[in-house]
Amino acid sequence: MVDAARQPKIDVRAFTEVERVEGFVGNFKVTFREKAKYVRADRCNGCGDCAKVCPIEVPNYFEMNLAPRKAAYVPMSQSVPLIYSIDMDACIHCYKCVEACGPLEAIDFSQQDKLATEDIGAIIVATGFSHFDPSVMEEYGYGKFPNVITSMEMERLNNSAGPTNGNLVRPTDHKNPAKLAFINCVGSRDKRYNESCSNFCCMYSIKNAVLLKQVNPSLDITIYYMDIRTPSKGYEEFYDRARKMGIKFIQGRPSLITEDQATHNLTVHSEDVSLGKVIDHEYDMVMLNQAAIPQPDQGHVSSVLNVVQSPGGWFMEYHPKLRPMDSPTDGIFFAGACQGPKDIPASVAQGSAAASRAGRILHSDKWQIEPTVAVVWPDRCVSAQGRPCGICAKACPYGAIDYEQGRAALVISAKCHGCGACVGECPHDSITQLHYTDAQLLAQVRALLATEPEKKILAFRCHWCSYGGADLAGTSHFEYSANERGIKVMCSARMDSDFIYEAYRLGAGGVLYSGCHPQDCHYITGQVIGAKRAQRLSAMFERMQMTPGRFRVEWISAAEGDKYARVVNEMQAVLDSMSPEQLHNEIERLRPEMTKRLNRFPNVPGVQVAMDFSDGLSTRMISKEQLV
């Protein structure tokens, strides 16, 4: 931190909040709120005289409320920059600090919050994590029994700069404990509170136990665990070392802690899974290794930055394996535990990666975007004709569409990721997606259904998940019906209902509408838009009394090759169960409705050309100009 403050190119702004973020990669406009410290940063030299004379004491958050701090304070002694601030919620305006400061005149009670807007090229979010409050778990008695403490409190008690100068004492009688228990997974791996594993607590409790044992080898330390997870280099060796030092490990999750009212000793009641017996052990002190949880204001930050949160509340990365430091919005990166609980080496690695990713943006004059961005035909957009619409802007997961009634919608290409949600949603077909134009996809539909369409199963697959699933089905040699014909689009949100109408108009046997699972979508909320449309289509086909199973909506991930094969085979089984006459009659019955729904489709630029081309069944090539 000190190094960062000394580096001339790094500007540390403490006590400053990001208020608004506008713009796009390389051209963000960020509004900061610099909060009033009531101390002038240019004059304060961090001598601490104000804190010495301040008569007000409030609980010190940094010391886990185990020690007091003054109303004039720095959060911790290593704070960077070392500038005091005055806590106005606690200050009684006695102005003793002003006197103590003397000729420096650093204290300024007239300060106000300052708002400033700046041009920013890239943003790295490193807001960290918070910890679970174990007092809601009544069985562990945290908050009720004083000798049950959390690991963060233990961390302060064991710290040489902490409130007890590193002397670990029991809160009840201030004596050094002789028998200690650590309980892992408090609130984590627990469906009642936080489902996920907090990643670092196993190593963290072993580290604390080893530290304590080094200071006092006669300490009796027991770690209660469900599973010990030591997955990185050198971690297992550390676990070995802890066992060699005589730290006991009991596999079993304690179900109850009781307190002896006279001695305030604690009895931990658990099953020892290895023994298969229920055991009670008495300890002087119990440490709860509480779960890592997202920051309480993570939702606020995500709405300011327009990044999304994963189901657990952490920020969602672009891709969990390949781009874990990128947010789905270009130019915003994640570092550390705000993206998911992780330990120090992983946080450092991610931080460095995020910094180099951000540096790439700052050092390039041009930014490469996906070639599949959306483009508006201004003459077709109804907004240009003065009618209210804005459906595309609502559909866009990235906020890339600038919509204002009275002029044609405008796609900001730098923000567009090319999912095609706006294209699929536009009721007037006024937007197209480059390389996935209506005409191109229509030509594919027609080509695939050129012969014996009633035997074919037309599968729309999204690029990231279902296409990968189909690919995996092939490479894993899962057999599925040879009548399946696939069309790749970028996202299930691009699967325009027009293509499905056209497929049924041509007499397709079945249509599969497949995409990512909602939490896997590579375009933030693209799948949600696709799913809504699919639901509408399913309901419509149900009303039309289409045989169930001829239109299937399935969310298939790239790892679910078996599911892809199974779904296609099930659809084939439905087709096999129908007699040719029955299928023919059903197709004929639906055709007029499908034709009606498609009557405006040929007006879309390029579509008529594509239709003529496939109708003529000629082999001539169409020039690109005709198609787009």
């Binding site: 069985e139 997974c185 791996r189 627990d190 469906k191 009642r192 469900m226 599973d227 596999q251 079993g252 999750r253 304690p254 179900s255 109850l256 009641h269 658990s270 099953e271 020892d272 899974v273 298969g276 017996k277 229920v278 199974r566």
Partner: protein, 198 residues
């Protein structure tokens, strides 16, 4: 596609019963066992965690003969404590119903009815928490065709509630906690006999 043999597997049979579905979520933390009153007061061999593991590994005979499935009283103290939200007694009941289907008998000695004195008042039917008692019309020696209470031994948990409410002392558990023994104990506590010295 699931094959016929797959369906016959013990674990799949348990999963097919509604409460048996979350079986696989168990990661053997032991919270249920250390919460269980039966384990602590009655039988140290009792262990729901082990039983769930036996089911996962298709150990049908071992599970059927384990006291856990027969002694569970469905008090559900373990249910809110389970970090994986498994309805453990539901899984145990699923295994128990399979065991009964396979002709296994409960390890618990069920309540006995004295058919000569039962008057079929129905009080025991009303109080039984396990729905184990019903009134049946049957032919009793010396009494003819009359209604009497009948205990379903697969359901009875031998709690003794029927014996406590019966006004004609015709029903009750006859093992360790029979009416006579409990009454005898009560008398002993109320009127301790003076120590006799000769």
């Amino acid at each position: 596609m699931i094959h016929e043999t797959e369906l016959n597997r013990f674990s799949n049979q348990v999963r097919a019963i509604p409460d048996g579905e979350p079986l696989d979520m168990c990661y053997s933390c032991g919270t249920c066992t250390s919460k269980c009153m039966i384990q602590q007061k009655l039988d140290p061999e009792y262990n729901p965690r082990r039983l769930l593991h036996m089911v996962m590994l298709d150990m049908r005979e071992e599970a059927y003969n384990h006291p856990t499935i027969w002694l569970c009283s469905e008090c559900d103290i373990c249910y809110p404590a389970c970090p994986q939200k498994i309805h453990i007694s539901g899984v145990l009941m699923a295994v128990r119903s399979l065991a009964v289907q396979d002709g296994k008998r409960s390890l618990i000695e069920p309540a006995q009815v004295d058919e000569q004195t039962c008057v079929a008042c129905g009080l025991c039917v009303a109080v039984c928490p396990y729905d184990a008692i019903e009134l049946v019309n049957k032919k009793i020696p010396y009494r003819g065709l009359i209604n009497v209470a009948q205990v379903n031994s697969a359901k009875c948990m031998a709690c003794g509630l029927c014996g406590a409410v019966c006004r004609s002392t015709s029903i009750g558990i006859h093992a360790e906690f029979s009416n006579d023994k409990v009454v005898g104990d009560l008398w002993k506590w109320l009127n301790p006999l003076p120590e006799v010295t000769i």
